[in-house]
């Protein structure tokens, strides 16, 4: 799991790459939460196009970060969603909370 972040104003764009499973979820969570310590972030975009694998552990990571961003009145966006990840997302109803672009 690798992560590449860019911030523009109040927008944080994070590209994830590699495999996001239960094993790597802790690392992803810690890295994302460190970035979200910056309280000026109001919009978080997660670019998943570089992920070669994601299961429901990744869904937990996305939902957890949504809660953080939502609590400060911000919004969250996911991009680069593969067909397999899209199925998990649709099943969970996450698109009512997180926008897909």
């Amino acid at each position: 799991m690798e992560l590449n972040a860019q911030k523009r104003g109040t927008r944080l764009h994070v590209a994830l790459s590699g495999e996001l499973d239960h094993h790597s979820a802790d690392k992803a969570r810690i890295m994302l939460d460190t970035l979200l310590h910056d309280v000026t972030v109001r919009e978080l975009t997660l670019d998943l196009s570089g992920l070669t694998f994601m299961d429901s552990a990744g869904l937990g990571v996305v939902l957890g970060r949504y809660k953080t961003v939502h609590m400060r009145g911000g919004r969250m966006i996911v991009t680069g969603v593969s067909a397999s990840i899209d199925r998990i997302f649709r099943m969970s109803g996450i698109y009512t909370l997180v926008e897909r672009q």
Binding site: E19, D21, H22, H23, R87
Partner: protein
């Protein structure tokens, strides 16, 4: 074609990736589509992760067993642990149900297995371990 493989590995999270690699290599004999392969890897990842974190609470001295069978286009994967077991299987299979919300588990593991495989059965009892059996027919294999 008939073929069987069995592996046994420590209940540590590093082995989630290993189990996916094994099932992907084994299922490749049936010439699955990329989508079928992705479905199988994801379902196996869910079952193995459950065994590691729920069955055994990540114990390197405990073992998860994975039995894989190919029988004329039908792939059967059994993931077995001798861990704590499940007291209410019906509840455990419900979407969003999790006993570990503190780990940010989404509770979607069984729902994903059911969506990505043709058939999923769960045998378990408290302190008697858990066996998850998943079947998937691979399209163009004979």
């Amino acid at each position: 074609m008939y073929n069987i493989t069995q592996i046994r590995f420590s209940a540590v999270s590093q082995n989630e990736n290993y189990a996916r690699a094994v099932i992907a290599a084994f299922a490749s004999q049936l010439n699955p589509t990329l989508e079928e392969l992705s479905d199988i890897r994801t379902a196996v990842s869910e079952a193995v992760t459950n065994a590691i974190i729920h069955g055994y609470e990540q114990n390197p001295d405990a073992f998860v067993r994975m039995d894989c069978t190919l029988d004329h286009g039908l792939l059967t994967v059994t993931v077995h642990d001798d861990g704590c077991g499940i007291s209410d299987i019906e509840l455990a299979r419900k979407p969003f149900y999790t006993t570990k919300p503190e780990l940010e588990r989404s509770g979607m593991g069984f729902a994903v297995m059911e969506a990505f495989m043709d058939r999923v059965t769960v045998e378990s009892a408290p302190h008697k371990g858990t066996t998850v059996t998943m079947e998937k027919r691979i399209g163009h294999a004979g």
